[in-house]
Symmetry: none
Subunit: 197 residues, 4 copies
């Protein structure tokens, strides 16, 4: 008797969808294609997801930037990273690794594109960004003596630089690690001069 590994169907669908969504966008990917790649029948899709939009929302949430920096919310992590530089490098590596896996970067940009028409996604995105920036700034102030606003700007510039790398990184030919180091440098330099005022 051929037994399908129990509970794997949903994962097969999600996995197939991510790949297809990444390549073709949410709208140009059909449920037919998803089930074909997942190797299940059409109707099966609707056993696991209320609708295609339902799946899109689920994936959209999974690629929110807040998911990309687990160390930002781990209260004990800083003991492993005594300096701000090492901590930022860690966050940056987490971020870039996260988005280089499972087509998350591509799906992230598709998410940015559909949030206008899917209010729930838009709301989550704003909340996630705010949280992320504020927590990042708070962490910076734990390392260096600097005003919160400057920390905020610094972290936003850092985050912006990382995101920009996701869609334009290969325009300059910098390696990921090299680019990351430089981005951290920029932030540290700014904080140095801000703090010294």
């Amino acid at each position: 008797m051929v037994t399908k590994s129990p509970g794997k169907t949903r994962e097969k669908l999600v996995s197939a969808a991510m790949e297809l969504f990444a390549k073709k966008g949410f709208d140009k990917t059909t449920v037919d294609e998803i089930v074909a790649r997942a190797g299940v029948a059409k109707g099966t899709f609707y056993l696991y997801f209320k609708s295609k939009d339902d799946l899109i929302k689920e994936l959209a949430f999974e690629v929110m930037p807040i998911m990309a920096m687990p160390s930002l919310n781990d209260p004990y992590i800083t003991v492993s990273f005594p300096t701000l530089e090492s901590y930022l490098l860690q966050l940056g590596r987490e971020f870039l690794s996260f988005y280089s896996e499972n087509y998350r970067a591509e799906i992230f940009f598709h998410m940015l594109s559909v949030r206008e028409r899917m209010k729930s996604i838009d709301d989550i995105y704003h909340q996630a960004c705010s949280e992320l920036l504020r927590e990042g700034a708070r962490r910076i102030t734990a390392y260096v003596k600097v005003g919160f606003e400057d920390a905020l700007i610094a972290f936003q510039v850092f985050l912006a630089s990382l995101m920009h790398y996701l869609h334009a990184g290969d325009c300059l030919g910098f390696s990921r690690e090299h680019y990351l180091k430089k981005a951290v440098d920029v932030v540290l330099n700014h904080l140095r001069l801000s703090a010294s005022v």
Copy 2:
């Protein structure tokens, strides 16, 4: 006598399309909606555009970042901006103004989302980004003594910060001008410390 404004049909279509594309994305906007808003018949659309994709491509090109900084390619502009700070502020204002008009920011993010499946757009985007970054870096080296690579990083961080503002600017509540000034500060601080090495 009712005179149709000569040559205005195409513009009406483009204008209607930009508005709708911005709000609903390329795929969820129908040709029917575009012509309805433009106030022309369906067939008229196809007098001016080979297909819906044709129009998408045209608009995608119009929101490329390279279009957003005219001062970057004006060889005589620097006489008006004696300092790097003033020049960067000018570029930043141009950039943010450009994208706050005609729904260009929204369309820009839709463009990022469709470029994977529209190779011609992807190619243009990469070329445009490379050009933009290189020219920005070149301009910086005309103002301050700094290595080209550092100038490149600085300008990329600057550009990234501007772009990030387009989709996350309102997460922090900074005013546009304030944010811009801060972003310029970050760049200048970095260049200061890089140059002093």
Copy 3:
């Protein structure tokens, strides 16, 4: 319990299409009309045919002359028809019966009309005709002592006469059987005089 006759949908579509194609031609028959007559929904059509052209090709192949004379390829059939006359009458009856059923004659002429723009049909048609003529001639030489070329001409004239009857038969008021007998006469007379040389 309402059971849809299993596997009948495709046949309903084909049958509806033949009737409509025959009356209105391929181009003037719409998919809407076909599905309406077949009593299924529009989308159902595309479960069974990739496109309207796909269906046209299928039907075009089904009305090739080679399909109209099964006895031509049956190696054992000649025992039932000891004389060439009886064999030609059999072939003729098969041919005329074939084309008088299921609107095949009409569809045949539509096929002749579209083959220029559907290369695959054109190729099949030529191959089918060549095969048909050659096999017909070969059969004739099995009955009478005659050169292959004369047999070829004789069979082509026979086939031409049959085809002509399909679109101009009612111009003269000959009954089908009478016309067929006369056409066979013509062929036999020609072979008689050719053989006697």
Copy 4:
């Protein structure tokens, strides 16, 4: 001053249409294509033809078989052709020449395909065929002592053979002239044996 050759516009349209109709069929050829090839504006088409169907009808009439054998209706022509053989060869040459020019053969088959839905064409076709066959038979009886019905059959077979050559002539590799001679042979042989009864 650039003067368009007066009265040439209509011919340009007809000529362009024949070429396009032949290649693509009536339905797949658009008025746009016709005017483009004719080098005139869209509106101009409707100065010369009430509609596209109007033009189709005009061309359909021009390729009727009756137009292909002028010698059939010339009462004095027989003096140049003292034998039936020479006369049939003349008719055959006229016929094949006629249809090998100006894409008439292709248009003829398109005509056969559309006559079902364009009653006026169908009527003309039947009338033309009847006339043609009867006149052909009448001419035969002027040459040889044979019953009218046999003459009728003989001429129909002759005509059928000629028509068949138009769409399947290249299946056998016979040259036009050779095929024609053979077709005439068939007819003559039949008449010989019919007359001798």
